[in-house]
Each structure stands twice: as C-alpha cells, then as structure tokens.
C-alpha cells in the first residue's frame, strides 16, 4: 500500500542535469506532451512549468534552483478560463512582463495567427516556451483535420519550445476504423503527437482508487524522439490539497 505520509517530500526534476524545462537553444526545438486524466487536471503542473520558465524557480521545490533563467512564456487554453490561470499565477512572486496569456476559450477562430504573433513578439527577448492546453478541441470546434493541425503546431514549434497539454482518458482512446469517430480522431492526433515528442509527462489517478493522502501519480518519461538534453525518467506520487499547495513524493 502506498502512503505518502511517511515519505519524504521530493523536488521536481525532469532532466538529468536537474533542470525542469528544456534549456533554450536556437538549434533544437523541444516538444513536450503533458497527458492528463479528467480526474487529475494539470493546472498545478503547468503553473510550475510556467514559473520555472519565467523565473527559474519552482514553487513545488524546497531547494532553490540556482540557474536563473528567464524564458518568455505564452500560455493558451481552449478549455480553462483565463481567470483560473491568473489566480494560479498570482501566487508567483515576480514580474509577469514576459508572460502572455492568449484566451482561446473565448476566441479560437484565429488561434494560429494569434499565437504566432505573440511568439514573434516575445522572440526578441529569447525563444519562448509556449503552453497550449486542449489543442484537440480545435479538431471539432473548427473544421481542422488532424494532419493539418499537427502541421500548424509544428510550424509554431519551429519558433519555440512547445508544451501541449491534452487528455488521455480511456474513452477518448477507444478508436475504431470510422474516420469521423471522435475517439478515432483524438487517438490519431494524440499518438501522432507522441511520436513527435521529446518529453512525456502524465498525470493520472491511483489505480487503487481514491486516497486521502495521494492525489495521483506523475510520470516523467523520455519522448519518442531523442533530444540533446536527457530526460531523467521518474515516477512521483503527488498530493494537491485544497489550499493549492502541492507535494511530490517518490513512488
């Protein structure tokens, strides 16, 4: 039985060099895929990655991170309201001048142009980290086909390190041979993205069911494309409590 109460709190580490987000490099463009289950939403993790990109710190970690970084960030979601992320970010102490939120929930018709423009604008300050939540919504909200959307995302990725946040609920992966089945479209989109990824992070509830002291498990896996910065593969248990504090434990 896994219980977190007797375990020691751990720091979030993603790469072998103890960094959390990929180091900005002009030659290599990273694609990170964050998979979540509907029961374990990733807002807290995205906030941590945004914070780490902007300031080099991470609110999940006790030990301060020595590497001061300032990577501009673009955050966009097709499902979460801006206010949700604003509230999350409010607890970060720091200047959000290099942070841009693109509200795709209320307007997604020109999503590609809007994101592109924001990336170009921020690029003067360094190659940005771009977070896009629920990109798969575009597949049914606009008449975009899977391969077209993947191509557009790749074009964005060519200018930034891209973090895509998408759900892998089982019901969305029960695909068939029917091309316009939602699950087929979702699976096709997601598996193709997986094959392009450099880093895979996933959040899911415990298989044993609900527990008081564990919210779920976070796994960090290398992506399918080998990248210059090596991923430190790991499995954490994590606990989010009602005050919004998050703790990580080794499994």
């Amino acid at each position: 039985m896994s219980s977190s109460s007797d375990l020691q709190q751990q720091d979030l580490v993603v790469f072998e060099d103890h960094s959390i987000v990929p180091r900005s490099s002009s030659e290599y463009h990273y694609l990170t895929l964050i998979l979540f289950n509907s029961a374990t939403r990733p807002t807290w993790l995205v906030t941590a990655l945004v914070e780490n990109s902007l300031f080099g710190t991470c609110y999940l970690n006790k030990s301060p991170i020595s590497r001061r970084s300032s990577t501009p960030v673009v955050l966009a979601s097709l499902n979460t309201a801006e206010s949700t992320y604003r509230k999350q970010l409010a607890r970060l102490k720091g200047d959000l001048a290099e942070f841009k939120y693109v509200d795709l929930l209320s307007n997604y018709s020109n999503w590609f142009e809007m994101l592109s423009a924001q990336i170009d604008q921020l690029a003067k300050k360094g190659k940005p980290n771009v977070f896009l939540e629920n990109p798969e919504f575009l597949l049914f909200l606009s008449d975009t086909k899977v391969d077209t959307l993947l191509l557009q995302l790749q074009k964005l990725n060519a200018k930034c390190n891209l973090f895509l946040i998408s759900s892998n609920d089982e019901s969305l992966l029960e695909y068939s041979e029917i091309p316009d089945d939602l699950a087929t479209i979702h699976t096709s989109f997601l598996t193709k993205l997986v094959h392009r990824s450099n880093l895979l992070m996933s959040l899911r509830p415990l298989k044993t069911g609900r527990a008081v002291d564990v919210t779920g498990e976070l796994t960090i896996c290398r992506g399918l494309i080998d990248s210059p910065q090596k991923v430190a593969e790991k499995e954490y248990l994590y606990l989010v409590n009602k005050e919004g504090t998050v703790k990580l434990f080794y499994r």
Binding site: K87, R91, D143, T215
Partner: protein, 400 residues
Amino acid sequence: MSFRKRGEIVSGPSARSLPISGPGIPRGLPGRAPVVGAGRVPSPLTATRKTPENPLKNHPGVRPSILNSQPCISVGSSDIDGIIGHQGLPIGSFLLIEETGTTDFASTISKLFMAQGIVQNRLNQSQQNTHEILIGLDQQWAKTLPGVYKGSKEKKKERVQQNESKVSVSNLVDQKNDLKIAWRYGLNQKKTETEDSSVDQYPNYSNQFDITSVMTVAPGPNELTCIPIDDLNRALKRIEETVMRNPSKVIRMCVPLFLNPMIYQNGLSAPEILKFVHGLKQILKKYPDQLALLMTINLDLYPRSNALVTYIEQISDAVLELRPFNPKLHELMERVYKSQPAKIKHGHLNIHSLPVLAESGLMCVQEMEYSFKNGRKRFEVEKWSIPVEDEEEKEEKLDF
C-alpha cells in the same frame, strides 16, 4: 495483496452543512481558505466583485463559498449544495448532472434549480434580481416548477408570528393541538436559528420546495426566457442577447435533458454538439459574475465511455452522476428498512468532478460513496451505507 473498502469514508467537505458558530463572517475553515490564488488574501477578482454595481451584492440568493469565498447560488437542494463542496454552485460554473436508466431524477433537480431562482426573484417585486434561461424546453415545462414547501420555515414563521401576537392567557387556554405544536416549533425554531447562523445570515439562499405542488404563479417571460434549439448557433446568440438584456441580475441557465431525442432533432453531428456546449461555456466565462449553468444528460443514450460525453464532461466544471439502484438492491432495501421507510434511498450519487477543486488539480472522483433520495420536500443526499439484513432473517437462512 491489498484490500479496499468500497465506500470508505473519506474526510472532506461534509454532506450537510454544519451549523456555523460565530455570526457575520463567511465560514473560512482553517485549512480551507481559497483553493487557488494568493492564500487567504482575497484575490483581485473577488475584490472587484464587491464593487457597488455588482449584481451579486446583497443578492438574497448569493453567499460566499465556504472554500474560497467565491459567490455561490443554491442548486435547489441543500444536500447537493453541500456535496459540491462550496455550499452551492459557484457563479460562473457549469454543472453537469448525468443519470443512468429511464428514471428522471435529474429533471427534479433542474426544476428545483429553476424554482429557487424564481422564488428569490420575487422577494422584492420592485427590484428583480434573477433571470432564468431555459434551453430546449418551453413555458409549459416552466409551469411545472414546484412551489415552496409550506410546512417549512415560512409556515413556521407565520405560525410563530401568529403565536407571538397571541401571547396572552387565551393562547394558553387554547386547546388546539396544532397550535401547541406550532408554539413548540416556534421555540425550537428560535433556538436552532441562533445556532445555525448560516440560515440566519442567508435566509433566502436555499428555499425548500414541495415537488408535489406547483408554483402558484408560473414564471412569466420577464423572469424566464425559453430558447428553442432548432438551430444551435442561433440559440447561442439568443442566449447571449438575453444575458445582455439582463445586466446586474444573477442568471440561472438550464439545459435539461440534453440530447434527449424527444427534444433534440436527430442528425446533429458530434462537432455541432460540442461547438454548442463549448459555446455555452464561452458565454458562461464571458459573464463569470452573473451566470451559472446546469445541464442534465442521460447516460443510457450517451454513456460515459462515449468520447462525446467525455468531452462534454471536460468542458463542464462539475460532474455529478445519479445512478438509480437496480431493482434487486431496491427490493433488498425495502425488505431491510421495512419499519424505517425514510431510510430507503433511490440510488447512488457519484461525484466525477467539482467546481474549482477539480480544475486546480484535486482528484474529486467519489463513486458509490453517496446515495440520494428524491423526497417530496427535499432531494436528500447522504453517505451511502450498505443495508444490513436483520439477524433473525440471517439465522433463518443459515438454519439447515
């Protein structure tokens, strides 16, 4: 090897609202301060809500969440309000109620949700405070909204007032039983009210309804707008127009029986449906200080394993599932609780996600932990406990 107890009691927000000690201050339990945002410091968003022109200020049907002080409205059943964790549905949220089987308990909740708003709107005839939007159904449905339960507070209050005016010798001499009881109730009432300051502080927050009765004056077009769904895009436009026509009011939006073939035309494609649901959320988040949405859907037609439902669940902020008991279990309960019919429940209430909490990353799934009962005067939700057969019966069975 592991064993797990199904239906294990998990500490968390209790199903019922506990009496609150200390009047005046909205309950901020230690360790239950705002879920997101800057600790216990009110976030700028909540601060803006308190500006004078805010529709929520002094609204009789609005109270702060016990979790993060976000303004909430009552769904219509105080037990469900408790289950949601905030003691109500935070304004700006989208609650999805799913139901399996051919029962229609979800519609009871829809009606309670709507009736609650109408009653609050009529508190002060000179100033309307609430508007309602009914999507897919017409005024005919609205006519079936339940009336306020007369045996409850109001009736008691009436009686207390009557009694107080009659405090005299004649009152003592009065032999009428019901008045005596009323007098006693009155005393009790006073006592409980001082204990339960939440009722005191928000007396009109959650009215109790009698689902066998019908609201005496049916909601008129000035308080309830019905929007047909023959064209989903047009419906979205009309919803937003209605919202804009009713500034500084709380707006309860309800989509009962979503995708029910009796109401929704066939031939809607999955993307069309999702565009509509996403469109509802867009409107909701555009007016986050005014709107709340309740949608009900039947899982027999659209099971949770269907990707369409998963997407709808993802778009929503909270998902509750009503799963009526199968006949066998119902029989068992009837047998076990022969002498206590009040204990007979109608089904399980499963939680799949909760507003604000799920979004900030908490795992809210609780299956087979609660049961519900659709009573005449309230929609009850209780912790589920397995019915245990009597000893006698057991012995009989073992006797061979």
